[in-house]
Symmetry: D3
Subunit: 310 residues, 6 copies
């Protein structure tokens, strides 16, 4: 195990790296750095090193399907290649990492292009938490000269909504912040809800920041369309066999620093939004129905399933 893997895993564990995208980038960069220091003298040994790196990185946080799929893909490239020499495999790792990063970039642009079309002049867009994919999309719409407003929640307990608000202000988009529980109060004023995703399940549900499912219900009640923006690689193949158990529970102190003794504080970081409340997933392929998300992923990224057990 190289230092770069250990350190990166540690940073992920401690939330020093955050956001599905950033975590994935950090992980594969660490894989590349690690591969460059390989001491392997055979492909088998090289793959074993990669496997250990994978295990370390996977263990660093529970629900990070994008990172996991990224690592799986890099390794699958090595496995599939006929090359046997570790040196050349190192180069292959590097080029695969470059390719993956580039494709991530392309996906982001494609999502921004597609999603921006859903925003019209005078639209009011509701969002929750902070998602760099969402804010990138909103910036794109702004660059296209559209005039629209954003309503964002503060997103307790960590108030990532403040980051969203700041980014909107920086680029001159009118933004209104509300407490999370005011979502229903303001929903009738919104034309559209756009949220990010942490994971997509085999049933077509979306796992995202706690509160998303409630906002989705509120949007559904008001016939306000809700779109999830997400790379398809956030699909979590483990959900085919698993369930909701892996919702990370974070520290109670995020909710109440000096809570009285005896008080139980439950602090789940995510919740599950039903496919029925999602109009579409805006992804690198355009807009797809959540109900057939798994088939889309299977068609596009068959290797995700091939490796899903490891």
């Amino acid at each position: 195990m190289t230092k770069s893997i250990r350190e990166t895993a540690e940073k992920i564990r401690k939330l020093e790296v955050q956001g599905a995208r950033n975590v994935a980038i950090a992980a594969i960069n660490a894989i590349e750095a690690s591969a460059k220091q390989t001491r392997a003298t055979s492909k088998k040994a090289f793959l074993e090193e990669l496997s250990k790196a994978k295990q370390e990185l996977f263990a660093s946080r529970e629900t990070e399907p994008l990172m996991r799929n990224a690592v799986r893909w890099i390794i699958s490239q090595v496995e599939a290649n006929r090359e046997k020499q570790p040196k050349k495999l190192t180069a292959l790792v590097s080029s695969s990492v470059r390719q993956f990063l580039k494709e991530l970039e392309v996906s982001k642009e494609m999502i921004a292009e597609t999603g921006a079309k859903r925003i019209r002049n005078n639209s009011v867009v509701f969002t929750h938490c902070h998602s760099s994919t969402v804010t990138h999309l909103l910036k794109r719409a702004k660059q296209q000269g559209k005039k629209f407003e954003v309503i964002c929640t503060e997103t307790r307990p960590s108030c990532q909504g403040r980051t969203t608000a700041r980014e909107m202000l920086e680029i001159g988009i009118d933004v209104t912040m509300i407490v999370d529980s005011a979502a229903r109060y303001f929903m009738n004023e919104a034309d559209l809800v756009i949220v990010g995703a942490d994971a997509i399940t085999s049933e077509g549900n979306v796992i995202n920041k706690i509160g998303t499912s409630m906002i989705a219900l509120v949007a559904h009640e008001a016939r306000t369309p809700l779109y999830v923006v997400s790379e398809l690689l956030k699909f979590d193949p483990a959900t085919i066999y698993g369930d909701y158990e892996k919702i990370e529970e974070r520290s109670p102190s995020e909710v109440w620093q000096d809570a009285p003794e005896g008080l139980v504080i439950r602090n789940p970081a995510f919740d599950v939004t039903r496919r029925d409340y999602i109009h579409g997933i805006i992804c690198e392929e355009g807009i797809v129905s959540p109900h057939s998300a798994m088939e889309v992923v299977r068609r596009r990224y068959p290797w995700v399933f091939a490796q899903s057990t490891s």
Copy 2:
């Protein structure tokens, strides 16, 4: 205008007195104190003094129907009485104030008795914000030897859920706190939702702390019964002619102390819960349907309507 009225109105305005019940008690106590210092020499003059006091108190906060109804009732007692002498009318004010306070107490007990029956052993009761009527009811159920748990939200922005949590801990009820947006995550674990009320409208809707309507929707989605506990005198006769415009908006700084310039923060204190999401209103009469709330109030407190225009 006496000092007691001015000071009380000021305290209400500055939120030094909070909670529908406390505000009502402070207001009629001030009326009594004020009446004792009357300089009126005729009943007409006495009533004019009362009318001015009423105006001052009514102006102190927008939505306080219980306080308004309390003041209206005291004055209606004076008006209806044949007595002409200010002195004796002062005594009448005092006895009316006593009677009103006593009936408030009786209502609270009746609500606690009735509501406690809805809590069974091993129930999980979900609540939002802090309501002394709700916590009184929960204490009653605990005193009856029932073993149950409470889930309470923190209730942003002012975190009144902490008060609820502390009260539960003090009397030995197991309590779990969550962020507001986690309501849907935990709703399937709850057997029952109980919330308070700030006002009841002529349509049968209930105005309560921001977020209540969202929790009601979430409860409805999960077929979890939601009960509102409230004195019927929180019925607001102005709603017969008015609308939702009077939802108080509080200071943005409650939400974000040093928000960046340019950011609009909307901070409504209440929202409106639809009658369709309310199983029943637990009041001084027992449990009634919200859909006929206005008729119940008309039958029980006809004077509320007689004075509703003033």
Copy 3:
């Protein structure tokens, strides 16, 4: 039977008099004219004349509860009075007719005042068909200086929406007309739906122009509040014992002038809007819940029920 009764009944039958309000006014004016020509020499004979007039008027159209209640009330005034002389009873009829007309006027103003409060600046108000009560309300809001828009359906087959549109234009309210089936397309742009009523049933449902129930469903789907404006005297006591059978079916030629032979055209004039899709009934008492409409009517107009079997 006097000529005035016969002629008025004929006009109602032929739809020369239209609109619940106009029909009621015509009927009681005819009663008054008829009473003035009485040949009765006893109260009994006088009442018999009134009873015949009532039967003739009631037979002129199927669903006209306002007219029926108006006639019932005039007769109940005669019955209840101790006066025995036909001459004086004639005067009583006249004064009762005046009083009823005046109260109709007061109701209309009260409805306009209350309903206008629900319209805010920049509101978009959706309406269907033509109702003089609705347009009076909209004019009131306009007079109050509010700036708002109206969307109205054309309302097939008779296109009463054109009358609504013209009235809006005359008073300078921005108005958009759409075909009936476009209601769902535009509903998300509306803040509020306001419609009139032809009858209110004992279950709390509202009978109004065909299409109203569909618009109500569409409003419900979009969480857009729908209000019915109506005098409570449109309550039909016959519904306590009856059902939907009395929905008038009008001539097929209204739908298609020269339809091909063999084609069945069904042309019901009204449909039934469920109480669950109605936020409130705006009436002479303010806003009430449709679920308790019958109790409101019983409290306010007990004589409606006393006479309901005749």
Copy 4:
């Protein structure tokens, strides 16, 4: 305590007398028989005897509001009367019992008349369990010459649907029987659901044979109107303060005679149908909204509430 009271209570307890109506009739007949054998020498003693009879009868079965209200009414007549002589009070009991029975009869006819109007030619009427009020209504519609069909469930575990089926066959109404769980399969073929009631609650819900709430949900899903036929005196004043706890659980052997050891069989006799799934309650007053049922009862039978605590 007289023998007639003891025996009647015993028969009720052992289900030898069944059906809300039959139980009520048996109870007040027993009261009358018992009153005739009074040994009381004062009104006070007479009332004490009645009170003991009441307690014995009330204890015989948990949910029998009609019987309870009947007994309450008889006693309230005695209490309110100025007569002091036990003999004459005995006569008063007799005449009150006669009057109550007659009014029960009148209610039944009124319900049949009103409900029969809801049945049209070629209607398909769905019903559950056996209710003499429902079958009386169906017979009335048949006598009126209407041609319609009935679908009835078998109604496990006691198969009261067989009684319904037999009664239909006897009077020549086409009837189809299905298993309870096939209700959704056949609901789209039904035009109307009519069921009886065991109790009406203060919230406006209806307690009836287990399965009713499921059929109501299924009817709601298919937009098939559901009517409950019930005397208003099935309103249970205890529900104002109580809850669902009193749903009788009957013997497991009704479900499975020789169930294997260790198997828990739960056999609740009733369930609670939400007011939202009920179009109307067809009662002695005609059709009323369930949402205002309590107010209707209060207006019509105020004594029900006066005595509700005893």
Copy 5:
């Protein structure tokens, strides 16, 4: 650009050719005619001619995915073929056009066969507007000897329902016409709704004549199954990246010939029916779920996506 292309585009623009199917047929016939007059001397030039024809035809109307896909397919055949000689390519265009038309015919039959199975004896089938695919299906069911009725709306503003009605009468199917807004009034009498489609989106929604989405909502409320009949080639690949903006707005004069000045008339030709209200899409493959429509199209017609950007 040949005259045949220009003329056909003009006819499409002026609505002289109507109906997705007819427009597609006209367009590819024009392509064929145009190809026959080619002056190209190279494949490249030939393809350029085709590309110009495509642009002209695409510009003639906004939402005609079937036509666009037809044109795309013809061109893709030319592109994929190894042939270089314009003459032979002309022949290839011809044979491709023949093949496409034949497959359209096969689809229509397959749809009729499959859809006819959903119609049973005594069924009441509800439809909206005029769709030759729908009426073909109904004729098939009739030919199979089934006895059923049709309810059709008049379909304002252009009253295409009259064409449907006439076609039904011609082949002896009982048909009832209603105004559009009476759909909810009659929905409980229908066993099934069948409508056509103008476009299918990547989310699985269906774009069809204005009013379809409202009828779908009404059918959903009544648990009446709604089927869309449509060739899968009405899938619009542009929706993957686009939105609802392209709903054609037609002339206000269709709605009101001499509307008063100042009146805004909005006349959208289509609306969007949510996938959740559609039981199935009956297409050339049989019945498929709308939620996976895009995957079905991808599997069957991968070339639709290859060319979607052009």
Copy 6:
């Protein structure tokens, strides 16, 4: 036709073999036995024998897609093989049968593994009827040391719930039995519903024991997740072209042995559960969305469609 085919078909017809799995196993075992006695001297003759066997088996019961798909697959293996000699084809039939049975076994294990993950400690699992796949899954969860309870319906008319109950007791799982119509009464206590399937349709609906659709609706109302466990090979390709007509109606005597003359008893064995009420189908691939079930089957078992017309 061999004796083994005739006898097996007869057993299936008489319900001596029951359960989709058992029927499929019996059928392909009969095919194998029959193949071993072949008198064919050419592949063509051999295939004709198989075809006759198929017809006989298919005719034995209406809805048995698993059996049909099993037989189709065996035959497709023979057809696809280059071997011409009947003897060797007999061996191929045998090995194909072995392979199919093995894969059925693997599927069952995979379903049990995946489904068991959905059961947590203290879960309450609701089930209906008896499904060996469901009980296998429950046993697996129990073997994993999880502590949970099962609620099962009795499942009229044949009371297969008793079999479920007995199996649960045998392996020490706490089980409660209720009548079918009590499902809604107990649904709020359940964490999860798991049911089997007889067929999956092209729309993504599931056909299972009568009552399943009602339980699914009740689960949906209470936000209780419902999973269907089923091999994907229960997909019925005939549904692509067909409809619900094939729901088997069984003998009235199952419902009432000595029903009175004239009583119609309808006894459908299955009903159709809408895809919208199903959270996921737990199959040999893991958990998939019902909305894309057909695409999953097409991807995995393309031969099912190739042969679907025969």
